[in-house]
Every structure is written in structure tokens, then in C-alpha cells.
Symmetry: C2
Subunit: 133 residues, 2 copies
């Protein structure tokens, strides 16, 4: 089960400690730079779309199974599968973003808390109701 990078996050965020915990908690705009080999897979993506971006959180730890949610010392430790901590056995990031501009292989997006240089591994649409699929 080998993931291939399909692109890279370009963001002003470079430091995990300074990054917001979620994209809707003050993340700056970022650019998704896709590899030319996946251009066809982007066909139909448009400004205004809400997308789920999956990343490989390459600066996370894979040997952490329990954490204090949001690094809050007042909260008890619990399993990472009940939290969005980047530290987990398979550090896949799941980010809900809004596309603000499309320029070929570059998507400008809002609400992405991933750090600069983070590999992108997948993109999916946000699912609407059953009638809209």
C-alpha cells in the first residue's frame, strides 16, 4: 500500500506549532500544485467548489496512539482515532477547503491548515444529499 504524491501544498504555514488546528480556525489561503500526470483527474474542478483534500502529514509521528485532544492540558488523554491529531499510525490529513481560483495545475484554496511542502495524495468532492449525486 504505497501512496504516490500527486502534488504539493504551497502555504505561508511552515511551523506545526504555529499552524491552526483546523482550516476554519484562521488558516491562510494556500495553493495546491498538482503534478502534470494527474491533470485529467482535475477535469471539472471549478472555482467555488468545496473539496476534501487528503494529504500525507510528513512531519507527524506514527508511533503515537494516545494524545491530549488539542494539546489541552485540561483534557484527559484518549485514543488518536477519537481526535484529529496529525500523529497517528497512518498520518493522512483530511482537509475541507473551498476553491477560490483554478489556474491549470494550480488550485488556490481557502481554509487549509496543512504546512508548506505537504504532499497531496487525493482529492474528493464533498458529497451532497443522495438526490444530488
Amino acid at each position: 500500500m504505497e501512496l504516490v504524491a500527486i502534488g504539493t501544498v504551497r502555504s505561508p504555514l511552515t511551523d506545526r506549532a504555529a499552524a491552526p488546528k483546523q482550516g476554519d480556525e484562521g488558516a491562510p489561503e494556500a495553493t495546491l500544485e498538482f503534478d502534470a500526470g494527474v491533470a485529467d483527474a482535475l477535469d471539472g474542478v471549478a472555482s467555488g467548489d468545496e473539496l476534501l483534500v487528503l494529504t500525507w502529514l510528513d512531519r507527524a509521528r506514527r508511533d503515537v496512539l494516545r494524545v491530549r485532544p488539542r494539546d489541552d492540558p485540561a483534557r484527559p488523554v484518549r485514543g488518536v482515532f477519537t481526535t484529529r491529531s496529525p500523529d497517528r499510525p497512518n498520518p493522512i490529513g483530511l482537509h475541507r477547503v473551498r476553491v477560490v481560483a483554478v489556474d491549470g495545475l494550480h488550485l488556490r484554496v481557502r481554509d487549509l491548515e496543512a504546512l508548506d511542502g505537504t504532499p497531496i495524495v487525493d482529492v474528493k468532492p464533498v458529497l451532497g444529499g443522495v438526490d444530488e449525486r
Copy 2:
């Protein structure tokens, strides 16, 4: 970027063609069997929880970049990143499920359309509003 399986889906669904396209379109109950090595990461998961389960869709094709959404011949082909097709460069499945029972390393869940034997790679909570995190 090597994924490790942390568990396996056990489901009556064995045939991709017969499986529902999404979990809320008639999927049967299924069991998530986790490996003993990630028991601590499940600490806090409870019956009634809504979870996002990430899987490795091991029967998908990785060389498909454009598809007809929902295999509907009436719809034009478009990029896989605008669809939930399992065929995509990194075939990661994203499934929103409801936990109906917890028994040690086994979680019984509703609304999972993944096939029997599918490797599980991550579990995340559904995020509530900012105030609830």
C-alpha cells in the same frame, strides 16, 4: 509514503458491482476488526459515535483519471477528483459510519459500503462546530 493496515473490514459485501455506491444508499452493517497493536488508539470510541473510516480500496484501479460519475451513461466523463469513484491514483476510501456496538477490537458499524477484506488505514471523528472541538 507506505501505509500500514490497522485492521480489516468484515462485511456481507463481496462484489464491487453489487455494492451500494455510498454507505447511506443501502449498505448492510459491517464489522471493523482492528489489530491488537492499535488498541490504545481506539480508547474513547463509543456506541453512537459518528466516525470517518479511511480504507485502502485494494480492488480499485490506479491508472484511471477520468470516469463517468456513478457509471451513468447519460453523464459526461470527468476527472476522478470530482467524483467518489474508487478508481483513482491513490485509492483511499472515505466512509462516514455510525458505531452501533463496541466489543474490544471489533466495532460494529452502520452505513459502510466497503467490501469484505478491505484494509482499514485510519479512523477520525466527524468534526463538530468550532465550539465543540
